[in-house]
């Protein structure tokens, strides 16, 4: 660390000073002009709170939101990888119709703002799906039943299950396009000779894909896939717009009811940062080890 500091040029110090000065100015503006009343001491209570009646700690709004964000991110990633793999294979299909459909889907997602996409998916797809499958009443049934512990471990409050599921579906559909592009790139990076080798021992197109091309493609795309997972966690903030009770949504609620504008948003930003940066470091380490 000290060695690195010694390498800094005086210009570097100048840049650092300007950056610090900028933040100091913002700070001074908030302190002096806005006359903002910092109440940081309230924040821990909104993460974990002691329930005096039941005499136990419980996760309060921010932590609830964080847990929901994590759940949604995990389920949406799994779904997005499945859909994305299908999409990626479809993009390389021999059949023109299949290829065009996949391409159309991708181009729609690429050229429409995420927020708009999320609303469209929500109203046109996941809402219909939830109504059609009668998920609402099914979830309420479980919420009322006695052995709901397992369900709640995986999905949280079952009364919110429909909202959680639409969040997962919407997010997965949105991310699947990008996962699909990653998978396509992976498939195309597999040497042509591999396909010929597979064909020469009599494999059909399915076997060639399943046993020879996909395993190699998937190993190659693991690093970009991991990055996409981190992107998905960040993107999950958008689904607060369709009232999924994840971290961003909870923060909006908290700010509305307590006016802890800066404290709450800084805390939420820190949550996202710790998770995403932590994962990014973890993936980097795993990648280096595999090399």
């Amino acid at each position: 660390m000290l060695n690195k500091l010694k390498k800094l040029h005086w210009l570097d110090w100048l840049v650092l000073a300007v950056v610090l000065g900028f933040f100091a100015y913002i700070w001074w503006k908030i302190e002096g002009t806005l006359n903002y009343n910092w109440r940081w001491h309230l924040i821990p209570n909104y993460i974990f709170r002691y329930h005096t009646g039941r005499e136990e700690w419980f996760a309060n709004v921010l932590m609830q939101g964080l847990i929901t964000t994590i759940r949604i991110s995990i389920y949406a990633s799994i779904l997005a990888v499945i859909l994305g793999t299908i999409l990626g294979i479809a993009r390389c299909a021999k059949n023109l119709t299949v290829r065009m459909l996949a391409r159309t889907y991708l181009e729609f997602l690429r050229n429409i703002p995420p927020v708009v996409v999320i609303f469209i998916f929500f109203f046109f797809l996941s809402q219909q799906l939830i109504t059609a499958l009668n998920i609402e009443s099914w979830a309420r049934e479980i919420a009322r039943s006695d052995n709901k512990a397992v369900w709640e471990f995986f999905f949280g409050d079952m009364r919110r299950f429909p909202s959680l599921i639409s969040g997962v579906i919407v997010l997965a559909l949105f991310e699947s396009a990008f996962v699909g592009e990653i998978v396509r790139a992976g498939i195309q990076s597999v040497d042509k000779g591999q396909r010929e080798g597979a064909r020469s021992i009599g494999m059909n197109r399915y076997q060639e894909m399943r046993y020879i091309v996909l395993p190699q493609a998937m190993t190659k795309v693991l690093p970009p896939m991991a990055n996409q997972f981190i992107t998905l966690i960040k993107d999950s903030a958008i689904i607060s717009l369709i009232s999924v009770q994840e971290l961003t949504f909870k923060t909006v609620e908290l700010v509305a009811s307590t006016r802890l504008i800066f404290e709450a948003w800084i805390t939420t930003a820190a949550f996202y940062f710790v998770i995403c940066f932590g994962l990014s470091m973890l993936f980097r380490r795993l990648e280096n080890r595999n090399r």
Binding site: G193, Q194, E196, G197, A198, R199, S200, I201, G202, Y211
Partner: protein, 248 residues
């Protein structure tokens, strides 16, 4: 099928890549058990010829029959046919994510639906035959080029193919590894396997070939038994080619 029956027949076959006329009116046949060696300058169409036999490329006109089955694009028989026709590539094309043993067994298990234990026994038998039984559990990347090519030959043998195609099997190898691969191929020829070999290894050709074929510019210029082919070729083009590659 008797020993004299044709197992591969090209009947006025043409092949185009866009405007490029890669195979021009090819008519030739290979008998069962015959060893045919195809040579010619690069770009003469010899690889295309051999790749048409197992449908890695498809010809545009004429009729190509292999093992009683007509080869054409979208043929339902093509996958079954490829099981009967093994192929060894210049670049080996082993599956890098599988061990040597898995490379040899995946075809029999997934395609021929042979039981895993039986497939493994067969695989070990052929690894013995290509003289690398001790490499079974390694990954292809850990093997030398010569060893990889021998694994590739064993992979085709494991499918119990009746025809073997070799597309310049030694061209990507370091000189000191060429012979270990050729030795295996000579042994294979001695078993009576039908073989079509594209190669520049004229020593090998002289030793095993029943028929020599010289191609140039997408045409078959000369077809002759090796003794006549090497001593007294009919065409000037073939003579010039042989002079070039045999001279040093």
């Amino acid at each position: 099928m008797s020993g004299d029956a044709a197992i591969i027949t090209f009947d006025h076959v043409d092949k185009f890549y866009g405007d490029f006329h890669a195979l021009k009116d090819i008519s030739i046949s290979v008998r069962e058990g015959e060893r045919m060696v195809v040579c010619g300058p690069s770009g003469s169409g010899k690889s295309t010829l051999i790749r048409c036999i197992n449908g890695l490329e498809f010809h545009n006109s004429g009729v190509l029959t292999v093992d009683g089955v007509e080869v054409y694009e979208d043929s339902k028989e093509i996958y079954r046919l490829r099981q009967e026709v093994g192929m060894v590539f210049q670049q080996f094309n082993l599956f890098p994510h599988l061990t040597v043993l898995e490379n040899l067994t995946i075809g029999p298990i997934k395609v021929r639906k042979v039981s895993p234990s039986e497939a493994e026994a067969t695989a070990r038998k052929y690894l013995e035959r290509v003289r690398i039984p001790e490499q079974a559990d390694k990954y292809p990347a850990a093997l030398s080029g010569g060893q990889q090519q021998r694994v590739a030959i064993a992979r085709s043998l494991c499918m119990e193919s009746r025809i073997m195609l070799f597309d310049e099997p030694t061209s990507a190898l370091d000189p000191e590894m060429i012979n270990e691969v050729l030795d295996v191929m000579v042994e294979l020829a001695d078993t009576g396997m039908t073989m079509v070999v594209v190669t520049h290894e004229m020593g090998f050709a002289r030793k095993v070939a029943d028929t020599m074929v010289f191609m140039d510019g997408g045409e078959i210029v000369e077809t002759a038994p090796p003794e006549r082919f090497f001593t007294n070729p009919a065409s000037a083009r073939c003579r010039a080619f042989l002079d070039q590659i045999l001279d040093h």
